[in-house]
Symmetry: C2
DNA sequence: TTTGTTTTGTTAAACGATTAAGCAGTCTGT
DNA sequence: ACAGACTGCTTAATCGTTTAACAAAACAAA
């Protein structure tokens, strides 16, 4: 009961060929014309010997590993680990397992990860792509490796992707702030060319415009991944200074929001009276902020499930036209964005 | 530049045997006595053709997959996703990748996962074991599959494991509460036989005892995974009722704490004046609770790194005596446990 | 000129499965 | 009685590597 038993072991044990054993265990009795009693005998022996097929060998033969490679910015970020969990469950339902890697928003790390996973012959990639990784994605496509992008996408690459309707969500959030009587709304976003971020910014601007508020470029603060803490602090502080003195904030992600809230907490300004706040994404922190945050809820459930679905259908048909799925987000209104001034 | 190029392709391209190519690319020039210029030629060709070895084939031959299987209760739980991130980085440094699975604290799911990963021929497991999975762990050991347990362990199984010193940490936490003039301290823990939980409870009791406080069994509330929300609510509510009216809480995990804080928030009791609080683990929520929580900080960094280290060393030597690593946790004191009553 | 020693390759088996093709027997129908 | 179909199983190639064992040629030593 020590070394693993192989097909050959079963074959020897019964004095038959490995071919027969393979057919029987794969329930190919009919096509392969395996005798009924022999099939039974083989399956019984397999069970007795506790035979477990060697998936590696299977993969080598079939060229399929039943493995999905998942690349996100950081698996320890709740947004991604939540998606990872959904993807894991969904993948296993279909007999796939998930290998993951964190790119830290770095194109080089991303490339390394893709190479590693490619060598592992993953059947498909699910990627939340970092900036400047277009070439990597294109390369995968050229090699006919199924790729599904999540959370972000590249407009000039035809890929399967699934994404929240960032424009709509941002628009809705900012519109909500304005409807709650805020007029000077600051936004803190990541300094990246990635489209999802640009869409959020566009939604913000459009909502201002449609409400007759002229966008001031000082209201938009872009923070870098490298100097995140510093940039957020500087950004928030300058936005609440008398010169600008915004009365509302729209945060482009939960990480930005969490960091910003710390600064706001130190500032003495009160939410929502002095400052109204809406953030993208969720965070358990939002629930415990003294004025629970209004936030944009992306359906990680749907993103994850759809991502696996797209991946599997592309594995099944590599030539089909790319599908893009855009899902609407919902605004969860809580106290941080309550109306200010006169009107209740 | 489409289909992947194999050793054979390079061999054909140069008109040599695959063996030679293999030797050259593995830099076995010396042992295999490959001509210096030929070796050069082969390596150049490989680079030109962008040869990437097929890891699956390698694995089949070598019996090694350079893969670590990670099984935790839930990858979307920050505690585990943080560990996962460390393990991922650490594993990749050594040429390993990580496949993960979430067991949801269920022994059946755990068994399924182990079987799946076993079939994938993972070189080692890193597992945060669920209750009633002793047999599964023993089985792996019997089959000589390297296993490292993290976060929890089984006292009657000799395994490599790495764990926080739960007793010490809990003792320290509760002792701290008492030193801050709390005398009726409630504890909410998971209802599980797993030793890590029992150790936390023991630490709690011992701290009470050493401080001359007689433990009342009503103070200890065990909540099930299945009826988590309900159990927590009932537990907290009964503990703050006049009959018991505890003046301090010790929460056994961050999940319990987060859920409990919600109830406490509704209760009207104030932290730390009416109730002092210390929790195990971290949570971003703790930072934003109006009275930031004092908590026990486990070093996920150390747990993750050590887990990989133990796994690799066991892969290298399967017969060595199991190593157990116990790391001390540190108490991060903040306002939620500030002294009550007279004494500042 | 043999015999040995190096040097530089090649051959072929192996890892553990899958699967097309082949080969005896046994039936069936006319 | 004999072609053809069917049954039940085996052979052997294959996936992409690795590696032990062998071989051929060049060269040195006797």
């Amino acid at each position: 009961m020590d070394k693993k038993v192989s097909l050959k072991d079963i074959a020897n044990h019964l004095g038959v060929s490995t071919a027969l054993v393979s057919y029987a265990l794969n329930h190919r009795d009919k096509e392969a014309r395996v005798g009924a009693d022999m099939a039974e005998k083989i399956r019984k022996a397999a069970a007795e010997l506790n035979y477990q097929p060697n998936v590696i060998a299977k993969s080598l033969k079939s060229g399929k590993t039943n493995t999905i490679g998942l690349i996100v910015a950081d698996i320890s970020n709740p947004f991604f680990s939540n998606i990872a969990r959904i993807i894991e469950d969904e993948a296993r339902k279909h007999g796939y397992i998930v290998i993951f890697g964190s790119s830290d928003e770095s194109a080089e790390k991303s490339k390394l990860l893709i190479d590693v996973l490619l060598n592992r012959q993953v059947d498909a990639f699910i990627i939340a792509p970092s900036e400047h990784t277009e070439k990597q994605i294109r390369n995968l496509q050229k090699r006919k490796v199924p790729v599904v992008l999540i959370d972000r996408y590249f407009p000039n690459i035809e890929t399967d992707f699934i994404q929240t309707n960032n424009f709509q969500a941002a628009y809705q959030a900012v519109d909500h702030l304005i409807k709650n009587r805020r007029e000077k709304i600051g936004m803190v976003a990541y300094d990246t060319g990635l489209l999802h971020m640009r869409e959020r910014i566009e939604g913000y601007k459009e909502a201002l415009k449609d409400n007759g508020i002229r966008f001031k470029s000082d209201w938009l603060r872009k923070v870098s991944y490298q100097h995140f803490t510093r940039d957020v602090e500087l950004g928030i502080k300058s936005l609440i200074e008398p010169t600008l003195r915004v009365d509302g904030f729209f945060f482009a992600t939960n990480t930005i929001a969490v960091e910003s809230l710390k600064i706001i907490n130190q500032s003495g300004f009160k939410v929502p009276d002095d400052l109204a706040i809406v953030s993208f994404d969720e965070s358990i922190a939002f629930d415990f902020f003294y004025s629970p945050l209004t936030y944009i809820r992306q359906s990680v459930e749907e993103i994850g499930k759809e991502a696996v679905k797209l991946a599997l259908s592309r594995i099944a048909d590599k030539t089909k036209k790319p599908t893009s799925v855009v899902i609407d987000a919902s605004l969860v209104v809580r106290s941080s964005s309550k109306g200010a001034g006169k009107k209740k």
